[in-house]
């Protein structure tokens, strides 16, 4: 759904990411998602009279890690108060960075070869959260709201891109690549569904070659799909509006996922006056060279490089494998693939197991690389069926151990070549028609025989070994 001929969209994204610190930005309350309402609150994050903020060192380190990953300049910075009333915001101001952010200037290279400039990536605090009671459960039409301040004061980094994005697809690619980078820095878990990464999109359109048009800001897009659809809709809306003689108003718009449309939330007016001034309760931030070096030293390679390293092990890569690699990189689990390669094992099998079984497990701390490599080798070598290998991995992930011992305990003793041969011969005798068609070159019939063997052996046989037996008798 491209824009009409001669039109171009101009998009910049503001991405808010929550940092994965143990505590909030300015107090020692736990930074966790999903706790019971108002249980992680204290005088500071409730904005009680007399309380004062003290900056979380790790939040600063994580912000610098993000800056470094985005090739930004880290500079001495200050905190400001952004003043406006909102019940989710306990002090009725937000502590944020204003004219001197910790990170400025930088870029992100996307997998399609394009580059998007990063204007700034600054620290700020999150607000609490309200639930709207009433018919719709949404803010409009609610007659009462309930406020939970557990999220109040959670550290955020706001990453502002340049107006460099020219399509909804590119916006989506930028967001997903940025998400992968944020996860790789260890600063974010990238969980958009939990709100730990939230996106505002600034969208304008222009006829090619003309100056930028008036932009609208679409607030709080919380999935890559919404981002893509909302930008596409908004750009089309603006073009239609202009082509029909209308004028785009600068405003904040809301994306309704079910309707599939944006609508006006708030028209920008002069009433928006945040009265920014330096936060007098915090001092300036000027991370030393040593501090910056510690952060740099702890920063591993970024996703693009890590993806390339896995691709290099595989040579040709299918689309499915490309998706699998993305999953493995997001979760930081490629060490299992590399270990398999180093041991001369089957990298494709290893990739599939990591992207599926390990990814699903969440916690992989009990599984050693050696145990994983050995499991893959047993599967690739025909000692285990795929089903058996998955079962063993599940056991190893849950309780650790060594695959041979687990296989023995499960009774996954390998079928001897003799007994498999006997079973195959008996099944050939019992199914003469299918066997003759296989003999005449219909390879599809191999699956038929594998199915029979599996039923006979209750899944203990290895598919490749069965095929070998069939070919030996052809």
């Amino acid at each position: 759904m491209a824009l009409p001929e001669g039109w171009e969209m101009v998009v910049g994204l503001e991405v808010h990411t929550e940092l994965r610190t143990a505590t909030k930005m300015f107090c020692g309350c736990a930074n966790v998602f999903g706790a019971e309402a108002n249980t992680n609150v204290c005088p500071v994050c409730l904005g009680l009279p007399g309380s004062l903020p003290v900056l979380n060192e790790r939040a600063v380190s994580m912000a610098m890690a993000i800056g470094m990953a985005l090739h930004a300049t880290i500079a001495p910075s200050t905190f400001h108060r952004k003043n406006y009333f909102y019940p989710d915001m306990p002090k009725d101001f937000q502590i944020s960075q204003y004219d001197l952010p910790i990170n400025s200037g930088g870029y992100l290279d996307l997998p399609d070869g394009s580059r998007v400039r990063i204007e700034r990536a600054h620290l700020e605090e999150d607000t609490g959260k309200s639930t709207h009671l009433g018919v719709s459960g949404r803010i409009h039409g609610a007659d009462r709201s309930l406020v939970d301040y557990n999220r109040s004061g959670v550290p955020l980094v706001e990453i502002v891109s340049g107006p460099d994005i020219r399509s909804a697809a590119q916006a989506r690619l930028y967001a997903s690549e940025l998400r992968a980078v944020l996860i790789a820095t260890g600063a974010s878990d990238g969980r958009m569904e939990e709100g730990s990464m939230r996106i505002d999109a600034n969208v304008s359109v222009r006829r090619s070659g003309e100056p930028f048009g008036t932009r609208c800001e679409i607030k709080n897009l919380n999935s890559l799909r919404s981002l893509h659809r909302a930008i596409e809709f908004e750009a089309q809306r603006q073009v239609k509006l202009i082509e029909s003689g209308g004028v785009v108003r600068q405003e904040t718009r809301h994306w309704d996922e079910t309707v599939g449309a944006t609508s006006t939330m708030r028209v920008k007016e002069e009433a928006e006056d945040y009265r920014y001034f330096r936060e007098p309760d915090l001092v300036d931030l000027a991370p030393s060279a040593a501090w910056q070096q510690r952060v740099a030293d702890a920063l591993g390679p970024m996703p693009a490089e890590r993806r390339a390293a896995v691709v290099a092990l595989l040579g040709e890569v299918s689309d499915a494998q490309r998706d699998a690699i993305d999953v493995v990189i997001d979760l930081g689990l490629e060490r299992f693939v590399h270990a398999t390669h180093a041991a001369g094992g089957d990298v494709a099998v290893a990739l599939a197991r990591v992207a599926n079984e390990l990814a699903a497990a969440g916690d992989v701390s009990k599984l050693t690389e050696d145990a994983f490599v050995a499991t893959v080798a047993m599967e690739a070598g025909g000692q285990l069926s795929a089903t058996q290998a998955k079962t063993i991995l599940a056991d190893l992930l849950a309780s650790g151990g060594e695959p041979r011992a687990v296989a023995a305990a499960r009774g996954f003793e390998q079928l001897s070549a003799d007994s498999l041969g006997g079973i195959v011969s008996a099944l050939i005798d019992a199914n003469p028609d299918e066997w003759s068609r296989f003999r005449d070159g219909d390879d599809k019939l191999a699956q038929f025989f594998i199915g029979l063997v599996m039923r006979e052996t209750k899944g203990r046989a290895n598919g490749k070994a069965v095929i070998a037996e069939l070919h030996a008798r052809r």
Partner: protein, 472 residues
Amino acid sequence: MNATTMAERVRRGEIAATALAEESLRAIRARNEELNVFLHVDEDGALATAARVDDAVARGEDPGRLAGVPIALKDNLCQVGIPTTCSSRILEGWRPPYSATVVERLLDAGAVPMGKTNLDEFAMGSSTETSAFGPTRNPLDPSRVPGGSSGGSAAAVAAAMTPLALGSDTGGSIRQPAALCGIVGVKPTYGLVSRYGLIAFASSLDQIGPFATDVADAALLLEVIAGHDPMDSTSLPEPAPSLVAHLGDGVAGRRIGLVRELLDGADEAIVASVRRAASVLEAAGATVVELSIPELHLGLSAYYLIAPAEASSNLARYDGVRYGLRINDEDVTAMNEATRTAGFGAEVKRRIMLGTYALSAGYYDAYYGQALKVRTQMRDAFRRAYRDVDMLLGATTPSVAFTFGSKTNDPMAMYLSDVFTIPTNLAGEAALSVPFGRGEADLPTGVQLLGPGRSEARLLAAAKVLEDAERG
């Protein structure tokens, strides 16, 4: 008996902390109705705290340097479970779930908090007349104000209800009432005393400090509450200075600047007190030079933009959502407005309005931005002066305690009563007021000693010289 002696005798087991607490309660009961000093008297808490001190003494443990000494707390300091109002309707009935760092330190030192004292609403005022709970009267002359904003704390000490009190000083709110009530008041260096648990008026100017009947007690109390606090990012990292040990240092060899701008417009009697203080200091071995710091004239203008600007933001949180007053209305915005309109008094509204204006788009550079630059000039001017002299001398206030209502109709006239104290807050430095001489109606006059950051020991030693001379 001063606080220092009280604590020594309690530690030696010569008097019981409970007896001191009861005596303090009697003194409070005797005059509180007349003077309106305490907004809340924590009788049970005080007696329980005192009993714990006595138990510690009985067990042979050290109960601390302020063992059993009754102390009054300005009602903008949080003490867990004790009503804390800032003398505002908007916080009426609020009991903080935590204590200020200074309160913790007092309790660790064995002091006995007796209750919360009256102040100008949110510490905005110079007479305690803006309190939503009625003004405090000056114990020396109940027809007059005790000064402000820490008027209740100053009056508690002047009326001998407690030998010690804590106040806060944003533009003179300790020194001015100390001068008007004839006691000692210290505005410590910014960052010397933790602000954690002090309900903010203007964060970059606020500082907690002691009231006492004499210089030694002020030094002791300041020593107990000073020192780094990890809960306050603006807390100075260095260890607390030693003050009591230096009380006898005198002023021999010191160079002291008598500042012309800190006498301009003061009553004749006050000017006379300051000049007499200068000769006493010279007689004690100091060299006094008269000097001028013209930048001080700009202090008032800068202060009345910076302090309201910070206050407008600090007081935004009183919105009816989480604590304190709520006046319901049809939606949140209307509820916020109704609550704030009903909960704040006129002076607080005036300053919120002024500060909001000074920060708003289009006016920031002309007002707030310019004020911050003047602040730089103020700080530099003081620093230049301190290259030549060890401390400065001037009046604390232009006049003695004034009568009720004499300045309430003209905000600017009220603001001018802080003209000599404000520059120190802008510079973040130290100053104190020590009673010296008498003025109109035989009321006490205060002399102000000012010094660079962390010069409290030097200032207290000089104040001790004046106090000794005055007491003969």
